[in-house]
C-alpha cells in the first residue's frame, strides 16, 4: 500500500487500488477506542437516468434510497442485526450523489468489516420483502414531508434548478416508490454496486493490510462497466424561478436563500471551488461578517441561521437559511451587501481572519472519523484528495473570493424558499 503523510494536519493515509478497481483509503489512528469503516457507491438520489447494457434506463425517484434500506436483508436474515450483535453501530445514508454504508465498533472490527462488505455486495430481495418495505419507507416519506427544514431545502433546489435532479426528494414520493419492484432493485444494484464504482474508507485502530486482504476475499473480481448518467444537460446560469412558498405547521417562517454557482469542475479544482465557496459565504454573511451582525441586531435572523456551499456533479450553490419573520428583507440585504463587496472589495483584515477561522474549523473537523472517512470517499468520487486542503488554502487570495461573489451572488442567480406558518396572515 502507498502511504501518504500529511504532516501539517498530523494524519497519514494508506491507499491502494485492488485488481477489481476498488480504491481503499485507511486513516490509521491507533490511539482511538473505536474504528470506523465506510463503504460507498457513487450512486445517489439524483442518478435516475443512466445507460446500462446499451439501453437508457429511466428509474423512479427514490430507488437509491430504497436500495439502501433493502441491502441490509441477507439470505440468512438481516446484516443490521449481525453487526449490532457484535456491538457495532451500523447505519447507512443516501444523499443526492452517493449511498454510504458504515459501522463503528470498539471490538471485532475485522469481523464486522466482512459483514459490511458482504451484505453490500450481495443483493437479496424478494417481492414480498420489497412490498413490506414500501410501508416502512412510506412512513419515512411522511416524516420527511412533515419536516420543514427538508421541505424548504428542496423547494430552494426547485427555485435554483430548471431540470437538474438535485431538486428531487431523495426518498421519492409515495407514488414514485410504488413503481419499485425487486427487478428494479436488482438492475440498479448491478449497475452501481460494482467495485469500480465504489470506494472503501476506514479509520481508527486498524491494520490497513488486513483491510485489503478482507476486501480481496469478499468482493467480486469484476470491476463492472462504466456508467453514463444523464442529469438533463447543462443548467442555465440563472435561477429557474425567484421564489417558492409553502405552508406548514411551524411557529415562525423558515427560509432558505440560495445562489446558483458555476457548475463544479472535477479534480482538485472541485475542492478549490468548495473552499472558495465557503470563504465567499463567510465574507458575505458568515458569523463574523458585518452583514450577519446587522441582520442579527435587527432581529431579521437568529442563532438558527446557518449557511454553506455545496457541490454535486452538475451543480453547485451557496445557501443560507433559518428562521425569520421577514425572509424577503434578508434576501434584499444579502443582495445589497454583495453589491457593496463587489464595489469596495472584502476588508483585508476580515479576509485574513476568515481564512484562519475556516482553516481551524476544517482541521478540527478531522477529529471525527466519520467526517474524515466520508470526505475521503466523496473526494475519491470527485477525483480530489480532501486532506490536501491546507495547501489549497495557502493558494487562495482575496481577489479569488471576490471574483466568486461577483459571478454568483446576484439577483438573476438567486432563489428564495419560505415555509410559513399555517393560518397565519400573509
Amino acid at each position: 500500500m502507498e502511504r501518504r503523510a500529511y504532516p501539517r494536519i498530523g494524519e497519514q493515509v494508506f491507499h491502494t487500488v485492488l485488481e477489481n478497481g476498488l480504491h481503499i483509503y485507511v486513516d490509521q489512528r491507533p490511539e482511538f477506542q473505536k474504528s470506523y469503516a465506510f463503504f460507498a457507491t457513487n450512486y445517489g438520489g439524483m442518478d435516475m437516468k443512466f445507460h446500462l447494457d446499451g439501453v437508457w434506463q429511466d428509474t423512479p425517484a427514490g430507488v437509491a434510497h430504497f436500495l439502501e434500506h433493502k441491502m441490509f436483508d441477507t439470505e440468512d436474515g438481516n446484516a443490521l442485526q449481525d453487526l449490532a450483535a457484535n456491538g457495532a453501530s451500523p447505519n447507512a445514508f443516501t444523499s443526492s450523489a452517493i449511498t454510504g454504508y458504515y459501522f463503528e465498533s470498539t471490538e471485532k472490527f475485522e469481523e464486522n468489516l466482512k459483514i459490511l462488505l458482504s451484505f453490500v455486495s450481495v443483493p437479496y430481495f424478494t417481492q414480498e420483502s420489497v412490498d413490506k418495505e414500501q410501508g416502512i419507507i412510506g412512513q419515512e416519506i411522511r416524516m420527511v414531508e412533515d419536516d420543514p427544514d427538508n421541505q424548504v431545502f428542496f423547494s430552494l433546489m426547485e427555485c435554483l434548478y430548471d431540470h437538474h435532479p438535485i431538486q428531487v426528494s431523495i426518498a421519492g414520493t409515495q407514488e414514485s416508490i410504488s413503481h419499485i419492484t425487486a427487478d428494479t432493485l436488482y438492475a440498479c444494484h448491478k449497475a452501481f454496486y460494482c467495485p469500480g464504482n465504489m470506494v472503501l474508507t476506514a479509520a481508527g485502530n486498524v491494520d490497513p493490510e488486513h483491510i485489503c486482504a478482507i476486501a480481496r476475499e469478499i468482493l467480486p473480481g469484476d470491476p463492472g462497466g462504466s456508467i453514463e448518467r444523464d442529469y438533463g444537460g447543462a443548467e442555465p446560469e440563472a435561477a429557474a424561478r425567484p421564489s417558492k412558498e409553502l405552508r406548514m405547521e411551524v411557529s415562525t417562517p423558515i427560509f432558505q436563500l440560495g445562489f446558483k454557482a458555476d457548475t463544479a469542475p472535477a479534480g482538485q479544482a472541485r475542492l478549490r471551488q468548495r473552499l472558495l465557496g465557503e470563504l465567499a459565504c463567510e465574507a458575505l454573511l458568515g458569523n463574523s461578517s458585518p452583514l450577519y451582525a446587522r441582520l442579527y441586531g435587527e432581529g431579521l435572523i437568529n442563532n438558527n441561521f446557518s449557511y454553506g456551499f455545496e457541490s454535486y456533479p452538475g451543480c453547485a450553490f451557496l445557501c443560507a437559511g433559518g428562521e425569520s419573520q421577514d425572509p424577503e428583507a434578508v434576501r434584499a440585504a444579502v443582495l445589497a451587501e454583495a453589491d457593496r463587496l463587489c464595489r469596495e472589495g472584502v476588508d483585508e483584515d476580515l479576509f485574513r481572519r476568515l481564512k484562519k477561522g475556516v482553516y481551524g474549523a476544517k482541521v478540527r473537523g478531522l477529529n471525527s472519523m466519520e467526517n474524515t472517512c466520508i470526505e475521503l470517499a466523496q473526494g475519491h468520487f470527485a477525483q480530489f484528495d480532501y486532506l490536501e486542503f491546507p495547501e489549497i488554502f495557502d493558494s487562495i487570495e482575496k481577489p479569488d473570493v471576490e471574483a466568486c461573489l461577483r459571478a454568483w451572488v446576484n439577483e438573476a442567480r438567486c432563489g428564495l424558499a419560505v415555509v410559513r406558518p399555517k393560518g397565519g396572515a400573509e
Binding site: 501539517r8 494536519i9 498530523g10 489512528r29 490511539e31 482511538f32 477506542q33 473505536k34 438481516n78 443490521l80 442485526q81 449490532a84 450483535a85 457484535n86 456491538g87 453501530s89 451500523p90 463503528e104 465498533s105 470498539t106 471490538e107 413490506k132 410501508g135 416502512i136 412512513q139 419515512e140 411522511r142 416524516m143 414531508e145 412533515d146 420543514p148 405547521e249 411551524v250 411557529s251 415562525t252 423558515i254 458569523n287 463574523s288 461578517s289 450577519y292 451582525a293 442579527y296 441586531g297 432581529g299 437568529n302 442563532n303 481572519r353 484562519k356 477561522g357 475556516v358 482553516y359 481551524g360 474549523a361 482541521v363 478540527r364 478531522l366 477529529n367 471525527s368 472519523m369 399555517k422
Partner: protein, 427 residues
Amino acid sequence: MTNATRLELLPGVHLTAVQTKKFKSSALGVQFLLPLSAQDASLNALTPMVLRRGTERCPDMESLSAALDELYGGSLEPVVRKKGETQCVGFVGSFLDDAYTLGGERVLEPAAELLGEVLLRPCTQDGVFRLDYVRQEQANLIDRIRAQVNDKRQYALIRVVAEMCADEPFGVDKLGSEAAAAAITAASLWNAYQEMLRTAPVEFYYCGSAELERVRSALEPVLQALPGGGVRRAPARPQQKSAPAVPRRTEEVLDVTQGKLSMGLRTGGIDVWSGEFPALLLCNALFGGTTTSKLFLNVRERLSLCYYASSQLEKYKGVMLVSSGVEFGKVEQAEAEILAQLEQCRQGSFEDWELESARRSVVSGYRSILDSQGRLEDFWLGQAAAGIDEGPEGLCARLEQVTREQAAAAAQKLSLDTVYFLKGKEA
C-alpha cells in the same frame, strides 16, 4: 484510558481535565449548576445567550467573532442542559490544539482569557445588561420555545415529560416556558446572573494536550475574578415517584401526516446512583435502545407498525421514555405491542444473543465516549452534577457483570405512568 482529573479549585468550584493528544482541538468550558425550577429556568437559560452577545472589550458579535477567528475559528457556544433536575448553563468552547496552529502560537491561554471575559465582563448599560441585547435574546428564547413544536419527534417527548412530571421539577423544560421567558426584564436577568455567579456550583472542563498545571494557570485569572461571598451548594438528588394505578392519557391535535406516540415510565427507584443502574441500562437496550432491541425488531420490522420505535433513559431522574412514529389508525395496536414487548423483558423471555448484543451495544457506546470531545464533556458534566466520579470504563466493567435475571428484574420495576399521542387533524 481516560486520564480525567477532578480538582476542587475553590469551594464549590471544580475543574475536570482530560489529558490527551488524540484530538486536533481542545475543549474548554464552564457550567453553572442550578436547581431546575419553573420560576427560574428561563432566566438561567437566557443568561449565557445574553453574555455571548458582547463583552467590555468586544462589545458586539462582530468583534467577538473576530476574536474567535483569530483563535483559528474557535467556538464558544452558550449551552443549556438538563441533567435530571439540575439545570446546567454556561459555555462550551472548542479551539484548535496548539500543535496545529500555523505559526506555533498558543491558543489555550487566550481562549481561557476570552472565556473569562465573556463570563465575567459583559458589555453593560446603566449597570445592567444592555437592554437591546436582553430584548433580542429574550425574543430568540421565546422563538426557540415555540419552535419546539417544529420537531415533532422531540416535541412528543417534551410533552410526555411535562404531563408526567407536571408537579415535579423534572417536568420543567430546560428552556423554561414562554410565559416565564416573556416576564424577564434587564434587571431581573442581571440579578439572576449575579446570584448565579455567587452561589451556583461551577464546573470548569478541559480536554486536550496541555498539562494540568498549564490549564490551571490559564484559568487562574478567571477564578480570581469570580465573585465570592456565597455558598455554592451541590445539587439535590431528584425525588423518585411511582406511577399512578391507571396511566394518565393525553392527546393533542396538530396538522401532521404521521402520528407520534410517546410513553413515560417510572423505573421504580433505579437511577444513576443505584447499584442496579447497569442492569437498567441493559434492560433499556434490550427493550428499545438498539437495532437489535425488541421494539425495533418487532414493532418496526416484524409488524411494520411504526417507522421508528425506541426507548431511552433519563438516568438522572429514574424515567424511561418510549418514542414512536405511527400511522394514526395503528396507534392502539402499536401501544399494545410496545407493552407486550415490555412484558417479554419482564418475564425474561429474551434469547442469550439479545442480551449479549444489548450488552455489546451499551459497552461500545460508553467506550466510544472516549473518542469524542463533545460526548466526553457532556458525560463528565452529568457525573459532576450527580456527584459521581465513575468514568466510562468503570461503568463498562459493571455492565459486563449484569446477569439476565438482573436485567429482567430491572424491567419488572418499570411501570407505565403517562401516554401521549400527537395526532393529525383528519384522524
